[in-house]
Structures are given as C-alpha cells and as structure tokens.
C-alpha cells in the first residue's frame, strides 16, 4: 500500500500533537527514525479504526519525548534512542531495548556502527526493597525449548511484585539487511523474521513492495488460505502449550497431535511445514489442484474439531479452569494505554482486527466475526484463540467455495516513496514500512505485534504467583525474534 501523504510537525510540539491524537482515541502503530541529511525524520503512524495517519518530524539528535503524554510510545522511543542515537528528552525509562552494546555510532545510522572498544551495557536491577523481597533472574537460556530472553522478577514469597523483561538476544540486524536495491526479492528474509509467522511477515513484505498493483483474484484467495492456515497452527500451539504448562497432559497431547497433522498437511500442500516460500510480491507461488483443495477442506475441518475437543477438555476439568481463570489479568484500561494489539487486546475487550478494519487481499469479500472477551485473563485469551480457529476454518471454507480458476502471479513494480504493509498476523497487527528512494530501500521498519504486547505482559503478571508465569507468558504467545529483529 502506497502511503505518501504525511503531516509534518515541529519536533518541539510533537509530544503535544500526538497527545491530542491519543486523547481522541488514536493509537500509535509504529514510530521509527529514517535518517536524512542533516538529522533524521521521525515517522509516526497512527490508527483509529480504519483511519491511518502518518506524521513526520525533522529532528536533529534530540527532541522532547512523547512517552510522558502517550505511554505506548515508550518502547518505540527506547528503540529509536538506541538504534539511531536520537535522544527523546524527558523519557522516564531510557534503557536499551534490543541492542545493549555501546561502540562507535549506532546500528541503524547510515554512517554505520563500529564495534571497536565495544562494551556491553549491564542489565539494570529491579530496585524493589523491603523485608523478604528477593529477585529472580531468569534466562536468556530457559528451561523449555523457547527463544532467548531475560526476565527479572521481584517477589515476596510467591506473588510477583515487579517484572522487567529485557530482550535483544535474538537481535540479528534484520532491518539493516533489507536496505539495498528494491529489485532483489527479500521475501525469504522477511519470512525468517519470525519463522512461525512466516506467511504474515511474507505477506506484509509483499504488500509493502507491490505498491497498489492489482493482484489476481485467485492469488488473493490463496493468500487468505495461507494466512488462516498459519493462524490455526499457531493458535493450536498456544492452546496445547497452555495445557502442557498446567500439566494437563491428555488435552496437551490432543492439541499437539492436531497441530502436527496440520503441519504435515502444510508440507504436502505447499511444500513447507511453516508455509515458507509461498508468498511473493505479485501473488503466490503455488496453486492448489482440485484434489489438494479437497484434502485442505478435510484437514481444516479436523483442525477445527480438534480445537473444540481440546477446549471441551479444558472447560470440563475444574482444576484446569481454576488454574486459567483470573490468572494474569490485563485490564482493558491498561491494554488501551499500552496500545496492545491482536489476541491479547481482544481478550481484554478491545475489538480490533486488521482483517475487518482494513481488509486486504480477499478479506473484504468474506464474512467472519471478530472474536473478543472482556475479562483479560488466561482463560479469555485461550477462548479468543479457540474462537478464532473456528472463524479461520469458516474463512478457508468460504475461500474454497468462492475461488475461481485463474492466474496466481503478476508482474509488480515497486513504487518510489513511502509504502506500508499491514496484516493481521496470528499474534496481531503487523506493520512493515519501506522508505524507498531512487530504486533503493533507504529504511525498512518492521513492527511485530510482539513489540507492543511485551510491555503488557509486565503488567499482567503482577500479583500472580511465580509458577503461573509460564502459563501467562504462553497465553500471550509472543515472539522474541520478531521483537529483537
């Protein structure tokens, strides 16, 4: 989607300006700096329902921080400070977010970053004191098979008093790798930003790169099918994971089995278990034959029933319900304040879904419900996921019915200027922005839904017991690699 229009704003009044937007119910989707000479351009993308606004501000090394007026900007401003060396003055928690090292220059500056004499910035302590208060550092290498991250709990007895999450161990410099001629197809790199959300990232990249090219109808439906297959397997993983983490082995085994069946079907139908390599700018790579569509129909129905079956097991077990209900509550007010997105937001009563608000590909022609709950606890997040699996099955079946034969790929021309790709990944609203100048990607920015949802996890665990943390973490189901980039 080409998005060249922007509202310029003086950096000195940027905070007040964004504050008025925030008061009007707008949410900051993303905020990043794109270097220019001299100084840099701050890009702020705001969304309210189906309206999107881009505000640009020319800054020179410093500007008054937005965070005091718009709390959800905190993590984004920390990243700008760390990666571009632009100081948000008056920010109350200026701690590195993903890079954690100090050398010469900053990683996203055009002049480059030089590692000579580099030192690692120590992770701050939690500063909670009192009788019987102790700190539990966890990670980056965890007990389970998960990605690296560092968590610091302050606890008194069992309940958690404070949690600070420090990520960045999976930082690979992905945004910098995107910079270069637009002609090269980087969809393989985009898919590997977060391997379990390969379709969503591949699709966001394709949307950013294909401008306003008309995509063939069949390709649009196939893209929807791919996205929903990915959503089902991610949701099944979280539902099964919740059962594993609460030692409910029977349901966990059923969930894991259903997911494996789906991954195997993915391999059979699209040649890759994670559906990698399916989406390219201009369409999709593989078409489905009539036999394959029949197989697909069967597979998604089974996956849908399996989700309902696991859900039934969970609801019929009083000890499981006791474990999940009222655990890890994220209040609606906090979810709004922190600008959370996706399943996390929908479980806390915020009805927002890119597929419904800003329909892309074939979503505009399909009918589906946005599933939401109000309580914001682990059970609500599980319920939202189960509901979304059912909706996804319905969406895929609609696609199969509506899809006509035809082309699946077309030539695209990448536009100059600013373009975006916004999709609803299984984790929530995902945004890719490309600043293209003279046939080169000058700056590529990725805002995974995890970036804005991680800070909400710090709030949701407060007052819960430490052994419930894995459960709450799993119910959020966030990406480390997508956050660290």
């Amino acid at each position: 989607m080409i998005f060249n229009s922007s509202t310029p704003c003086d950096p000195e009044i940027l905070a007040q300006y964004l504050g008025t937007f925030y008061a009007d119910g707008w949410r900051i989707m993303s905020m990043f700096a794109s270097e220019s000479s001299p100084g840099a351009t701050l890009n702020v993308i705001l969304r309210r329902g189906s309206e999107i606004v881009r505000i640009t501000s020319e800054v020179d090394g410093r500007y008054p921080a937005v965070t005091p007026r718009v709390p959800s900007a905190s993590i984004l401003e920390r990243t700008i400070w760390e990666m571009n060396g632009i100081v948000p003055e008056g920010h109350d928690y200026l701690v590195p977010s993903i890079f954690w090292r100090k050398g010469n220059g900053h990683p996203l500056q055009k002049g480059g970053y030089f590692a000579d004499g580099e030192s690692r910035i120590p992770i701050p302590k939690n500063h909670v004191s009192g009788t019987g208060v102790y700190e539990i550092p966890v990670g980056p290498v965890h007990a389970g098979v998960i990605e690296p991250g560092h968590f610091r709990f302050s606890a008194a007895g069992e309940p958690i008093l404070r949690l600070k999450i420090h990520l960045g161990y999976a930082h690979k410099g992905v945004e910098k790798l995107f910079e270069g001629p637009v002609k090269q197809n980087l969809s393989h790199l985009a898919e590997r930003i977060s391997g379990d959300n390969a379709v969503a990232h591949g699709l966001a990249y394709a949307h950013a790169m294909e401008g306003d090219t008309d995509i063939p109808a069949r390709a649009r439906y196939l893209r929807v099918i791919l996205s929903e297959l990915e959503r089902i397997h991610n949701h099944l993983d979280v539902i099964a994971g919740l059962c594993t983490d609460s030692a409910f082995s029977v349901a966990a085994a059923y969930g894991a089995e259903a997911r494996e069946e789906l991954l195997r079907a993915n391999h059979e139908l699209f040649g890759n278990r994670m559906l990698m390599g399916s989406i390219v700018p201009g369409g999709v790579k593989r078409d489905l034959s009539a036999d394959q569509i029949h197989k697909l129909e069967n597979v998604v129905m089974r996956a849908g029933f399996a989700a309902m079956k696991v859900d039934g097991y969970m609801r019929r077990s009083p000890s499981e319900v006791d474990r999940l209900e009222t655990t890890g509550v994220l209040e609606t007010e906090d979810a709004l304040r922190l600008g959370t997105v996706g399943t996390v937001a929908r479980a806390s009563g915020i009805v927002s879904d890119v597929r419904a608000d800003l329909p892309y590909d074939a979503y505009g022609a399909l009918s589906f419900n946005t599933v939401s709950r109000n309580k914001g606890d682990v059970m609500s997040r599980a319920a939202v996921r189960v509901g979304e699996v059912t909706e996804s099955v319905s969406i895929i079946l609609q696609c199969i019915t509506d899809m006509d034969k035809g082309e699946i790929r077309t030539e695209t021309e990448t536009p100059e200027g600013f373009s975006m790709g916004i999709v609803e990944s299984p984790r929530g609203e995902l945004l890719h922005c490309a600043d293209i100048r003279d046939g080169n990607i000058w700056r590529y920015s990725v805002r995974d839904p995890s970036v804005v949802n991680w800070p909400a996890l710090e709030l949701a665990v407060l007052g819960n017991i430490v052994p419930d943390f894995p459960l709450i973490n799993k119910s959020f189901g966030l990406s480390y690699s997508g956050n660290d980039l």
């Binding site: 290498v141 085994a253 994670m274 690699s481």
Partner: protein
C-alpha cells in the same frame, strides 16, 4: 450422534510414526549432474550464496535455505531436486558437486563419546537467535507423532543434565557469552549438534549482527543437520544414526 462423529474425525489410533516412515521423510536439495551451461542464473537468484560455479557446479547445503529459486530459474532445467543427506560430521561434508554427489550420511559422533553416552540421550536445546521455526520443530519432536522418548531421548531443563547441546540460530553477538556459558555447564563428554542452516553457516543472517559464520566459530559441532528448518523426523533419525543406533 454429533459427538460420536466428531470424535471419529479426531484420530483414535496412536499416531506415532515408525523409523521407516521417518527415513522416508525426505528433504530435497538442488543439484546439477549434467547440462550446466554456466550461465550463473542460479548464483544470482540464490539468497544465501550457496551455489558456486568455478571448475564445476557446487552447492553448499549448509548455506542453502531450500527455497528452490535456482531450480525455477535455470533456463536449461539442469538444476534438479534430489534427496539431501541427513547430516555430516564435518562442515565441508555438506558441499556437493559432480565429483562428490550427495549420498548416505557416513561417520558420526566419536565412538568413545557415543559409547559413554550409551542409549540414553539427554538433550538441551540452545537457541542462539533463531527465527523460532527450528524451536517449533524441536518441540514437535516430543509430540505424539515423533515421541522421542521411545528412542531414549529427552529434552532436559538444565545444561548440567545434558549430554547433547542441540544448537539452533546464527549465533547473534548478544547471545555469544550466554551460549559459551551454557556450553561450559554441560558435563563432559558432550556432543554439540548444529541444527538448521543458521547454526551451520549463518544462513540468511550471515551479513547481519552475528558472530562468524554459524556456531562453528564459537562452539565446535560434532555433527551438522541441514534444513531450514529440518523436520522433526529427520533430526531424530540423524541423531540416532550419528550415535550409531540405527
């Protein structure tokens, strides 16, 4: 009635896949035996520079992400898909050309180590910044289909309980110190396994903020398992074979 039909749809039998089925789980890699006209189209489209053409056409499946762009782009259809080997015990054992075509994996973990570790293998997974796809597959190794515990393998919570360090990811600079400490914490004799393209060569992230080319510049892998990501069945069979148990 409805409940019965639903429960029939969700399988009732034990789904575990046999060793034979896991052996049949093939990974296709690009390969040229005849017909290459050295037009270099494949080297241009390869996102990880896995293909080299000098005297002969060679492919390094330690770098390959198995996207098959080369197969699609070859104007003379010389690049074909052939089954890839399960693993290699040396880094250069993953480079293939006409003079060294891909075949069965040979060698494995040093005999002395494999004998001490015996039939019970405790695995600690170490993510050095992977994209999470490898973690998904490692998690799948213990689902009802693959059920790794039937082979005497299990995932342990601490490196101090581990025999095998199963390493994924391109070794980001931020993760290097923690990875070395984890390696130190594993009691000897220890086996290091590089799983997936990133761990073997840095893969698609090799130009990024990572240390060296894959984990071999930090840790010393005993075996390399190619794939992006390798499927759970292949990892299990590769481990069994490398330990001389298949």
């Amino acid at each position: 009635m409805i409940r019965r039909s639903v429960s029939n749809l969700v399988s009732q039998k034990k789904p575990a896949v046999s060793r034979e089925e896991m052996h049949g789980d093939r990974l296709m890699m690009p390969f040229v035996s005849v017909g290459c006209r050295k037009c270099r189209k494949c080297t241009e489209v390869c996102p990880t520079d896995a293909i080299e053409i000098s005297e002969e056409w060679t492919v390094d499946i330690g770098k390959c992400i198995f996207c098959m762009e080369c197969v699609e782009s070859c104007p003379s259809s010389a690049v074909k898909e052939v089954p890839a080997p399960l693993y290699a015990d040396r880094r250069d054992g993953l480079i293939f050309g006409v003079s060294r075509p891909p075949g069965e994996s040979e060698g494995g973990i040093e005999k002395s180590k494999a004998e001490i570790l015996s039939d019970s293998i405790a695995i600690r997974e170490l993510d050095t910044g992977s994209c999470n796809a490898c973690e998904v597959e490692v998690n799948c190794m213990s689902n009802p289909f693959y059920d790794m515990s039937r082979f005497g393998m299990k995932i342990v919570a601490s490196p101090r309980h581990a025999d095998v360090l199963l390493v994924t990811g391109p070794m980001t600079r931020n993760m290097k110190a923690a990875a070395l400490e984890t390696f130190e914490a594993v009691p000897s004799p220890k086996v290091v396994v590089a799983m997936g393209t990133c761990a073997i060569s840095g893969g698609i992230f090799v130009e990024g903020d990572v240390f060296g080319e894959g984990i071999k510049d930090t840790l010393d892998p005993d075996i390399y398992i190619p794939g992006c990501p390798p499927s759970p069945g292949r990892v299990l069979i590769a481990l069994l074979k490398a330990f001389g148990r298949d």
